[in-house]
């Protein structure tokens, strides 16, 4: 077996040193009835690379990759171009096959990239501080809600009607398990600032999203002001990190906590994971943050270096009193994010954001010209909702036959929302004029 270096002679020699007759002696504590007799049921014995690759390749071939044709699916994950350099960097053994940097003397590579990552995320969100990443945007959102209850010592969390329904569901589940009340405002394409009316003296936080799940961009300042007046926090959510290059960022709207999905930068679609959750907040809330934080310090010779810090917030020190149970985060995805951002720089991010917006504008213009199509999103970055007179599922199936993956039907995300005719679609820098023309032509044919 190619992964196991010990030879039968090694094993015999080692058993000799130990003074055991066989490895069975090491398993003597296993109750007799629970000892597995024979081999693992149904699983063949070890196989060479070729055989395994053949099997997995067959499975992969049954899937249609985003790059294989016109592709317009967004709603929380986005097709973007990742520079070749990024994948080369994250495949460096020293980054790929190392652990959480608990021994900083031999982990400055990881630690310095985390420090750079935190700085980039703070700058992009226009917040004071960012942590070293969460699992993904949805769990970051749930953690933000819990953090707000801790900060305010209040028990009510209000979710906007434009919050991604998966984020809302994950947040609701976590909050209710801990006995907090979750108020979900009515689903709406353009009513993020309904949060301002809903907030009251019992509210820990209001959670709004821009661009929201329908693509609508909103200045949440009004909700921030209203929340602060009542002693509550504003949690500002985004699922498309590229939007931060162009759209009003959380910090400019008065957000106390900003959370979002970082997949768009450096990370592929990968059917939903692994992704990288971004989490940032104001300076005064830093000690209430979940997750790992990297900070600057010095070594015994006075040289600048970095360590994981403020770990008294975390489960391995505080156990049942920790700010979160999170341990493993998204280290390598955060590295991909920071490497891509380092290549882009602020200027490149802005340019990429503009290209995304322009592609979506072109798409909206093209679809808008088709009789029966109604664009529903009033202001958007790179995705929007539209309606046709037909059932969305049927429309998407027919688009698929024409070779166009046209988006997500809103009813998949909102099964009870009576949105059977609505489609959510996105365009990015990967979208070509030909893709848009193909979409418009196919859709015109269908409706």
């Amino acid at each position: 077996m190619r992964y196991l270096p010990l030879s039968p002679e090694d094993r015999a020699e080692m058993l000799d040193v130990i003074g055991a007759k066989s490895v069975d002696e090491f398993y003597a504590d296993v109750p007799e009835a629970a000892r597995l007799k024979g081999t693992i049921e149904g699983l063949p014995n070890h196989q060479g690379e070729l055989a395994v690759e053949r099997h997995l390749s067959k499975l992969a071939a049954k899937n249609r990759s985003a790059s294989s044709g016109p592709f317009f699916v967004g709603a929380g994950a986005y097709q973007h171009h990742v520079p070749a350099t990024v994948d080369m960097i994250i495949q460096r053994s020293e980054f790929l096959t190392t652990y959480t940097p608990y021994q900083p003397e031999i982990a400055q590579g990881t630690l310095q990239t985390l420090f750079e990552f935190q700085t980039q995320v703070a700058a992009m969100t226009a917040m004071d501080v960012a942590n070293a990443s969460m699992y993904d945007g949805s769990t970051a959102c749930a953690e933000a809600a819990i953090m707000a209850t801790r900060v305010t010592r209040r028990k009510k969390v209000i979710l906007s009607g434009g919050l991604h329904p998966h984020y809302a569901a994950a947040t609701k589940m976590v909050c209710e398990a801990q006995g907090f009340e979750v108020v979900q405002l009515p689903v709406a394409i353009d009513d993020e600032n309904a949060l301002a009316e809903a907030v009251d003296d019992a509210t820990a936080c209001v959670i709004g999203q821009s661009p929201n799940v329908f693509g609508t961009v909103t200045d949440l300042s009004k909700s921030a002001d209203a929340a602060h007046e009542k002693g509550a926090l504003l949690v500002s959510v985004f699922t498309e990190a590229v939007s931060l290059g162009l759209v009003t960022p959380p910090g400019e709207m008065g957000a106390d906590i900003a959370v979002g999905e970082g997949q768009s930068i450096g990370n592929g679609l990968s059917f939903g994971g692994p992704y990288v959750g971004l989490f940032a907040c104001t300076q005064k809330l830093v000690r209430q943050m979940p997750g790992r934080l990297c900070g600057e310090t010095e070594d015994a010779d006075g040289k600048r270096g970095f360590v994981l810090t403020l770990s008294t917030r975390e489960q391995h020190i505080r156990r049942d009193k920790a700010t979160s149970n999170i341990c493993t985060n998204s280290g390598l995805c955060a590295l991909a994010f920071t490497a891509h951002m380092t290549l882009l720089g602020g200027k490149g991010l802005e340019q990429m954001a503009l290209l995304n917006h322009e592609a979506a504008c072109d798409l909206a213009d093209a679809l808008d010209e088709i009789d029966g199509v109604e664009i529903l999103t009033p202001r958007f970055f790179n995705e929007f909702a539209f309606r046709t007179p037909m059932d969305a599922e049927a429309v998407l199936a027919m688009l698929d036959e024409a070779g166009v993956v046209g988006g997500v039907r809103a009813s998949r995300l909102f099964p009870e929302g009576h949105m059977g005719d609505m489609i959510l679609c996105a365009a990015t820098e990967c979208t070509t004029p030909e893709d848009i023309a193909a979409y418009a032509a196919a859709l015109k044919e269908i409706i």
Partner: protein
Amino acid sequence: MTMNNHGRPTSPDHVPSDRNVETVSGSRGLLQHEGLIFEVGTPETTGVDLPKPKNRTGRLGGVARKKGTGLPGLSEPQAVRHYMRLSQKNYAIDLGLFPLGSCTMKHNPRLNEKLARLPGFADIHPLQPQATVQGALELIDELATWLKTLTGMPAVAMSPKAGAHGEFCGMMAIRQALIARGEGETRKRVLVPASAHGTNPATAVQCGFVVDEIKANERGRVNMDQLREKLHNADDIAGIMLTNPNTCGLFESDIREIADLIHEAGGYFYCDGANFNAIVGRVRPGDLGVDAMHINLHKTFSTPHGGGGPGSGPTVLSEALAPYAPVPFVVKDEDGVFRLVEDVEGDASESFGRMVAFHGQMGMFVRALTYILSHGADGLKQASEDAVLNANYIQARLKSVMTPAFDGYCMHEALFSDAFTAEGIETIDIAKSLIDEGYHPMTMYFPLVVHGAMLIEPTESESKAELDRFCDSLESIARRAAQGDDTLKGAPYLAPMRRLDETKAARKPILKWVEANADSVAAE
């Protein structure tokens, strides 16, 4: 001095080598100095060539960013060097033995990386039509089948993102089962051994439970007398969270009785599967009375740790808990078509809900399935046995110079206390001295139930020669520690950095680069 016929010296002069060479650049030979990107790059630079935008912002409705990020960029060669230079300051499994107990730093096969990057897996969207991702759903289903087979459990939730997230999944299923029984409000107490990972108590609290700690006995296992006492006439027990093999590297010999006692008390048995790698192919947790257990794909099934993640924590569930599994999950219909159940209705009407956007860590699923198929039935069992053999070999070789925490054989990790050290020499000194010998330190000061704990997990990936070299090094350090050799306290001497000041970092945290920091550093 010998010279060739061009006058070039061809043999070295004898200059003493022990002087401390300071360099102008800050680099030291192959170890290059590298500043932060904020010091190296400029805001005008970008390493990505994009088409020129038309600067059209018409549909934004004025919701536009006022102030730029000001972030620097690097050209591609600069960026490559930046990360290459930083990478040289990291220790990694690919470089040497990484004996972090409880973390399972085994070899990461490159085939797994290659297959995870096939466009059919890496470039598919979680919300594209299900007819276009049948192969992905089939892969999830196939991995789920092997995870159920290996654990002897009837169901598995695939969406948890990491170990602690899997714990959360299992404990939420328990909570939901109690609610369904009408005992959600009355059964709030969860028993957790003092030796548990910190995530266990933190998770229990996150699910609204109250933690009640149970002590270890003198053999490093659960104190059964105390357990019986806590369960006696108790009607508030929700369950127990127990790691097995436990964090002392020992198999809980009373595990069946523990399961029976918990079930008789009306509670459920959550098993922390962090150490499943010791028993794969030899023991099925389902045969031990377990109700829920997460599997760290990034430990047992070798998906790379990546400097702290991503992980993946599928959670197997017993018959009693299966109905409460989170959405989404994959089902195979009679016509052979795979389908995602995404909402709490129909097939999932009793589900406790959704934990996360989308379907779990697909990239990790591909790697884990590749690992399982590559190893096969014989390889998986052999891997477990070699991991256990390697740990026992280390324990046997070092027990005369170090203090094993408990008598008898261990499972996949060997645990020592600091009892053998002279006064003034701490566990951390031994750990940091290993760095100078070219090894990553063992897990230190965990589990908490052993004083100055040193937890060594070699995994099955090490050859005997590598183990011997490691033991020679650690044996020598241990002897020096026993003799009170003060030089250990300054270690490491040969790493890219000396010991770092964690107190200073926490006192006035600097969590990002700001211009002012740079000025003050320059002024010093």
